[in-house]
Symmetry: C2
Subunit: 352 residues, 2 copies
């Protein structure tokens, strides 16, 4: 640190993203990317946008992209906010809705960016302890907090909840903003988007990085009533007028329009997930029932960290969190059928 | 507003970017974009990056891009920070270096995002009043502030200062961070980058949006000593791990590597600027001597707002700020030779 650092930046523990190896030899099952390329229509739209016009600023409102998202989810355009990945959208939620010194609440085991955002924006947080089966104890969320963040499915567990649990929370705390992080919802969980018109305290956040195969282009979005969306717009326009570039806007628009490719890709990943889960159980793993594009697993005999190291040596990257209560678990992204066959084969060899 | 808005978001006056018309019929001289396409090598690099790999997250460190910038400016890679446009870089400076309640200082007439960032991050600001010729009164910056923001050239005036003025400021306030916003520096001003090793209180911010023809892809950067850069990295990694997408990283890398195209393009714009300035003076305009890719002008007989409206009717967009002291001025971006010929012709017709 040096004398020019702010107090916040001196104290904060930044989020550490999963490794992005620059040499391409690994089977990457560590950052929950989609193993399949985006729709051919997405690549075509990028090619069409590759022109002299990249000299011009993008549409600061990303109106066409918002329109495409609104159409897909059957909401109004002014109920959609778009940002540079759902990380930016979630980050903007803090200055938009929470005052420094306010408290928010989220599970103790969840997306590890939540406590970091809280620190960055001077917001306090109370965590609720997951049950021993990693389910979220919805009844334990405290009253009197300004916001509750619930991922559905949760990360890194992959466990999903029915929307009636979310709805119960919305009813119980009508003056608390409930932000449902649905980064992984498309892989088998139920979205809370249909509830936004019934509850003005609900904001749903999603991303193009997982089910829509566009992690490399950085697009996320939020859906909620227009008052909530306007708060996010105000923060964006006080931070960076143009957060999504011209090419990413067009690519995301094409991605959400190609419904057929989307459903097909999601289905393949879900099928691979179910098959892989069964095979891992056969190898002695405990596998949390997942509705995401990853599996959260623990082996009865071999420590997670050992498996992590050995798999890396074998050319497979998975994710291990050195976090209390989950030190002995691995998060394994669902790759292609071939990727997962190699994983199972390598694990089998380690079990001998 | 609604009851979920934070106090900050309720009070803030967001920045309003220049209009980006969706129909393409205007000659756009309103947002200081480059009138020329990026280097052919940039478009080629985008095409090469348009592959299935957009499913993968970008390099969160943007190491190759930082390396290319470092090489161009002859600094170390750890003296370079990159972000989603210089707007994001400037925004990150606030939580990185200033505590809520701290004060910063900048000119009263300058980039209108500075007061907005201050409000967003709870930082107070003291402005120094530009001299009547719009020059920055460097001796008037107050002591005891935590940061001073000086654009060079200043916007929207286009007036530049020699680096000895910046150096004097760095010496006078060794405990104040001086951020020099060099968004327009390549069009004829002197960069303060060579001073970063001599002064640990200097951070220089630049962008790919103007001289490097890439406004549409959102890349900006900061150069300063590694301690300052680390603070920005910590903020970025507490906000959004991947702020620059795969395609933008590659495009910016190609843009900074093609020095020949860069110098050639800048030279064309500077030549057009000088020619246009002379013609505007002949038409009765006062023209501030500009080292940027725009001219700040005022007419002796016709009000700026009238000219703005009339030019718009004639298919030419320029920028008019309804801001005290500059209500009667227009900021006109430098377009192609042809764009400026049309502008002069239309203005001549209005003068008859």
């Amino acid at each position: 640190m040096n004398r020019f650092w702010s107090k916040t930046v001196s104290d904060i523990k930044p989020y550490i993203p999963g490794e992005q190896p620059r040499e391409k030899k690994y089977i990457k099952l560590n950052t929950n990317e989609n193993p399949y390329p985006p729709s051919p229509k997405v690549l075509e739209s990028i090619r069409n946008e590759t022109s002299a016009d990249v000299r011009l600023y993008p549409d600061p409102d990303a109106a066409a992209l918002k329109g495409a998202i609104a159409l897909f989810y059957q909401v109004d355009c002014n109920e959609v906010f778009v940002g540079n990945g759902s990380d930016e959208v979630l980050a903007f939620c803090f200055p938009a809705f929470f005052n420094p010194g306010d408290a928010v609440s989220f599970p103790d085991i969840t997306y590890s960016f939540f406590p970091v955002y809280s620190q960055l924006f001077g917001v306090k947080y109370e965590t609720v302890r997951l049950n021993d089966d990693f389910s979220i104890p919805f009844d334990d969320f405290p009253s009197g907090v300004r916001g509750i963040l619930v991922p559905n499915p949760n990360a890194p567990t992959g466990l999903a909840v029915d929307t009636d649990k979310v709805e119960k929370l919305l009813k119980k705390f009508p003056d608390t903003l409930v932000i449902v992080d649905e980064a992984y919802v498309d892989f088998g969980a139920c979205s809370s988007v249909p509830l936004i018109n019934k509850y003005d305290n609900l904001l749903v956040v999603q991303t193009f990085s997982k089910s829509r195969c566009l992690a490399g282009l950085r697009v996320g979005f939020a859906i909620g009533n227009s008052g909530l969306i306007e708060a996010l717009e105000r923060v964006k326009n006080s931070f960076n007028s143009y957060t999504i570039d011209r090419i990413a806007q067009k690519a995301a628009e094409a991605a959400i329009e190609d419904k057929h490719y989307f459903y097909q890709t999601v289905k393949r990943i879900v099928n691979t997930r179910e098959k892989t889960a069964q095979e891992l159980e056969r190898l002695g793993f405990t596998v949390i029932p997942s509705k995401a594009n990853f599996l959260f697993v623990s082996h009865k005999d071999i420590a997670a960290e050992d498996l992590f190291v050995k798999l890396r040596q074998e050319g497979i990257l998975v994710r291990h969190f050195r976090t209390s209560r989950i030190e002995n678990w691995l998060r394994i992204s669902i790759g292609t059928e071939d990727d997962m066959a190699v994983l199972i084969e390598k694990l089998k060899a380690m079990m001998v």
